[in-house]
């Protein structure tokens, strides 16, 4: 039995791009249907941001408590090593995911968005068939937002399956592996690798390039390298993974020598690819931009009234970018004039320590021919950081501004807890702040945000506390 539905707006994909677009559209009075095959929340909520942060937090807590064993850090001592029941950790993580996913369902209902659970396959640009548990549902829409997301990139010589896992499986392990090898030292691999190291795994990284976190400059990466050492994590740079057999990874090291490493789990984190297959993209008549769907600054595809957002349309593959695009497209369909023109999109690595970056680094600005002033403030000189045991490890806040008018071009930080500073960083750039605006904002004492004010003063010449 075939059911036919029509609507003003069809959103395909219930991740942070799609569900936000659908809620916004519903709020704006558009008759909207959201199709999602899995649970609501997408990669971010089900297989990415949220579960990984839960695991990272649990791992961090476990690691901290271990530090109190015996010698009594801060005067707090434990007789025995804390016990880890990882299955309970996973359960706790799942409870957070469940709560948030259920929350999205509630929000969609509140916005009067109809949800259809099933896999959508497009017959043409405006019509799709959804395989639901109750049979095929055909949906015809005036507008379509494609928010199909992305998946972990597979290496042909290390296909996923068994003990070769992607980040998705890494978040649903039953137990902490004894030995874990991570291929790819980008932010996803490092976040998970460090977490499992803290949970007790012996972790080794295989990275093909000469640097971990290649998107960040050396200065920012330095504290992470220190932390890797502290957690006994080995990193093989300029190394090429070859094959994985009988829980042994063979790889070519930087000298060209073949080595082998034992691994209970081999985590492959070498990037993500847009989901372009299995849903009828060929029938949509949209243009491509390399491995992504081509869109303009309003997320319009080449096909009239077909829109694409999030990971489908390219880097940065970040949930908050997808949400912002989804919100914008819903508003455009509702008749508003909108364009996607952020000054910058902040990105955070939840490594140990965390890295946050918004806008241009000094090198990127120089490459554009801009004359810049930079200011750096070490967390070691920040009172609050010291009281949270976050002052060591070489963390800092760095600000980059134009020399001529002091317009802030970029803000970067590395250190524990710096992810929570990202909001002020992004806000400063969006508001068109100058160094004087930041140094002229009274930052609360004692907080780590003071470091930003000090970095601005440093760029202007004279910080107070160094």
């Amino acid at each position: 039995m075939r059911k036919e539905l029509t609507c003003k707006l069809l959103v395909v994909g219930g991740g942070p791009g799609g569900y936000v677009a659908a809620i916004k559209a519903g709020q704006l009075g558009l008759d909207t249907i959201l199709v999602e095959a899995d649970r609501l929340g997408g990669t971010c909520l089900i297989r990415g941001c949220i579960p990984s942060k839960a695991i990272i937090h649990a791992a961090g807590t476990y690691d901290e408590i271990k530090a109190h064993e015996g010698h009594g850090k801060f005067g707090i001592s434990l007789k025995d090593r804390p016990k880890l029941d990882f299955s309970k950790t996973v359960k706790w993580k799942d409870s957070i995911v469940d709560r948030l996913s259920g929350g999205i369902d509630g929000l969609l209902k509140k916005a009067k968005v109809r949800s259809v659970a099933g896999w959508a396959r497009f017959r043409d640009a405006k019509t799709c068939d959804v395989e639901t548990k109750d049979g095929i549902v055909s949906i015809t829409a005036e507008h379509v937002i494609l928010a199909n997301g992305s998946h972990a990139t597979e290496l042909p010589f290390l296909p996923f399956g068994g003990d070769v896992i992607s980040s998705t499986e890494a978040l649903t392990l039953k137990e902490v592996p004894k030995e874990m090898v991570v291929v790819g030292a980008g932010y996803i691999g490092l976040e998970l690798g460090i977490a499992y190291a803290k949970l007790g795994a012996k972790v080794t990284f295989i990275e093909a390039l000469d640097q971990i976190l290649p998107l960040y400059d050396k200065e920012l990466v330095q504290p992470v390298l220190k932390s890797l050492k502290k957690h006994n994590i080995t990193v093989h740079l300029n190394a090429k993974a070859k094959s994985f057999e009988k829980n042994k990874l063979s790889f070519e090291d930087d000298q060209g020598k073949i080595q082998s490493l034992k691994a209970d789990k081999l985590l492959v984190t070498v990037g993500r690819k847009a989901n372009l297959e299995g849903w009828g993209l060929d029938n949509m008549a949209v243009d491509m931009d390399g491995p992504f769907i081509k869109v303009d600054n309003q997320c319009r595809t080449a096909m009239k009234n077909v829109w694409a957002i999030g990971d489908l349309v390219g880097e940065p593959m970040l949930a908050h970018k997808a949400s912002a695009q989804g919100e914008m497209v819903a508003e455009i369909i509702a008749g508003h004039r909108r364009i996607f023109d952020p000054v910058a999109i902040a990105a955070v690595c939840f490594t140990d320590p965390e890295i946050v970056g918004v806008g241009l680094s000094p090198n990127e600005a120089k490459a554009q021919g801009i004359d810049v002033k930079t200011g750096k403030f070490p967390l070691m000189a920040n009172g609050r950081a010291l009281t949270m045991d976050a002052g060591e490890g070489g963390g800092f806040v760095r600000i980059t501004a134009r020399s001529d008018n002091h317009l802030v071009l970029g803000i970067h930080a590395v250190g524990p807890h710096v992810s929570e500073l990202s909001g002020e960083f992004a806000h400063a750039l969006e508001m068109g702040a100058r160094l004087e605006d930041i140094s002229g904002t009274i930052h609360v004492h004692p907080t780590m945000t003071e470091s930003l004010g000090e970095a601005a003063l440093a760029a202007l010449g004279l910080p107070i506390h160094i």
Binding site: R337, N405, H406, L407, G432, R434
Partner: protein, 424 residues
């Protein structure tokens, strides 16, 4: 190293001060002897002052638009050797004091430029937009401002930002909308910039003179039409038959001839009124001021002793002094001393004008355009070349009756051109 104090030289009889019209060099500049450094303007003439020495400029006594007394130190140079500062008793602090108020007088500029030295005044006040241009990136505005701009269909690149680094505030955007910014993305845009032009130099002189004239002289104007058909025939004939070194004649030399004759007959119109001493200086010589438009504004070069000139001579001299005035090369005596003035806008002369008397003269003859008009002559309509004379008089000195008589006399001369060339 010594200092050379360059005093403002005497620029002409009776001149006690002059205005700095333009600076061609600034403090800190190295200049060569005879290199033009400053233009000084007196009543009517602008004089280019060359540097008297090789040296570096240490100070200048003012900025464009400032008055400097004759004999006071205008420029101080650092020079090789002794200099001449020993011979001049102008202590340094005086220089500094002089320079300070000059700074305050500078036209308001919002540029980031804050050079301490005296610099040439900017021609226009820079708008914050210019700062935006230097930033070399897209408009700086908060997300809310950007969203509002989109809603209102406004290209933010066109909105002048008043904030630091050219940031566009809600107020900037609202002001832009209020003055019609909605159409900013179309080809025709309402413009909001105000150019501030300091009234200096010749423009200031013109303003002063016009104000003086209109304030102190009770003007009245008298308009009469003149049939110049005969005169035009004569003029064409003369032009066709002129010899090589004779200038081509416009109508103006004939009007100058008529004016010269009229002034001889009505000398009360050829006078200066000395209000302070309650005296009328009635001149026997007739020096004709010829109002001329120059790039810098209105100037009045003078054809002196019109009473002795014939029409060719009148034309040649008029062309010579007008050219000199236009090129800024007129001598001071060629720009002063007129006893009566003629003003003509030629082909754009209109029907009627109300000329402003060239103070302290008492009469000005305005020439309007020649047009063909149907005129009734002896009961029949004929097409005639008609021209109006619009003239103003100082009613304190010239009674209306006399003025009318004088213009009627000119009309008679011009309508019967042979009489222009006859003695009384």
């Amino acid at each position: 190293m010594g200092e050379y104090h360059f005093k403002l030289p005497d620029l002409g009889e009776g001149i006690v001060e002059a205005e700095i019209a333009a600076l061609h060099a600034k403090v800190g500049d190295k200049v060569k002897e005879d290199q033009p450094i400053i233009d000084m303007m007196t009543d009517k003439a602008t004089v280019e002052l060359p540097s008297p020495v090789d040296g570096t400029i240490l100070s200048i006594a003012g900025n464009a638009g400032d008055q400097v007394a004759v004999g006071s130190v205008l420029v101080v140079f650092a020079v090789e050797g002794q200099g001449n500062s020993d011979t001049v008793s102008v202590p340094e602090p005086v220089e500094a004091e002089k320079a300070a108020p000059v700074e305050e007088k500078k036209p308001v500029e919002k540029t980031a430029e804050k050079t301490a030295e005296l610099t040439l005044p900017k021609k226009k006040v820079s708008t914050p937009q210019s700062l935006k241009v230097t930033s070399g990136s897209k408009a700086i505005a908060s997300p809310a401002v950007r969203r509002k701009a989109l809603d209102e269909n406004i290209n933010l690149d066109l909105v002048p930002g008043s904030g630091p680094a050219g940031r566009i505030s809600h107020e900037d955007l609202e002001a832009f909308i209020a003055c019609g910014g909605r159409i900013a993305t179309q080809t025709k845009q309402k413009k909001t910039a105000i150019e501030e032009i300091p009234v200096i130099g010749i423009r200031r002189k013109i303003a002063e003179r016009m104000q003086l004239s209109k304030r102190s002289i009770p003007h009245y104007s008298y308009v009469e039409e003149v049939d110049v058909s005969e005169l035009e025939n004569l003029r064409l004939h003369m032009n066709e038959n002129r010899v090589e070194d004779q200038p081509k004649l416009s109508i103006l030399p004939f009007i100058m001839m008529a004016t010269a004759k009229a002034m001889a007959k009505f000398p009360q119109c050829n006078a200066h009124f000395d209000e302070e001493n309650s005296l009328i200086h009635q001149y026997s010589a007739i020096h004709l001021g010829i109002a001329a438009q120059t790039a810098n504004g209105l100037m009045v070069p003078v054809v002196s002793h019109a009473e002795v000139r014939d029409v060719w001579d009148m034309a040649a001299e008029m062309i010579r002094v007008s050219d000199a005035a236009r090129r800024g090369k007129a001598k001071r005596e060629e720009l002063s001393g007129s006893t009566v003035t003629i003003t003509s806008l030629g082909k754009i002369g209109g029907i009627v004008t109300t000329p402003v008397i060239n103070y302290p003269e008492v009469a000005i003859i305005g020439v309007n355009k020649i047009v063909e008009r149907p005129m009734v002559i002896k009961g029949a309509v004929q097409i005639r070349q008609m021209m109006n004379l619009s003239s103003s008089f100082d009613h304190r000195i010239v009674d209306g009756y006399n003025a009318a008589e004088m213009i009627q006399y000119m009309k008679g001369l011009l309508e019967h051109p042979a009489t222009l060339f006859m003695g009384e």
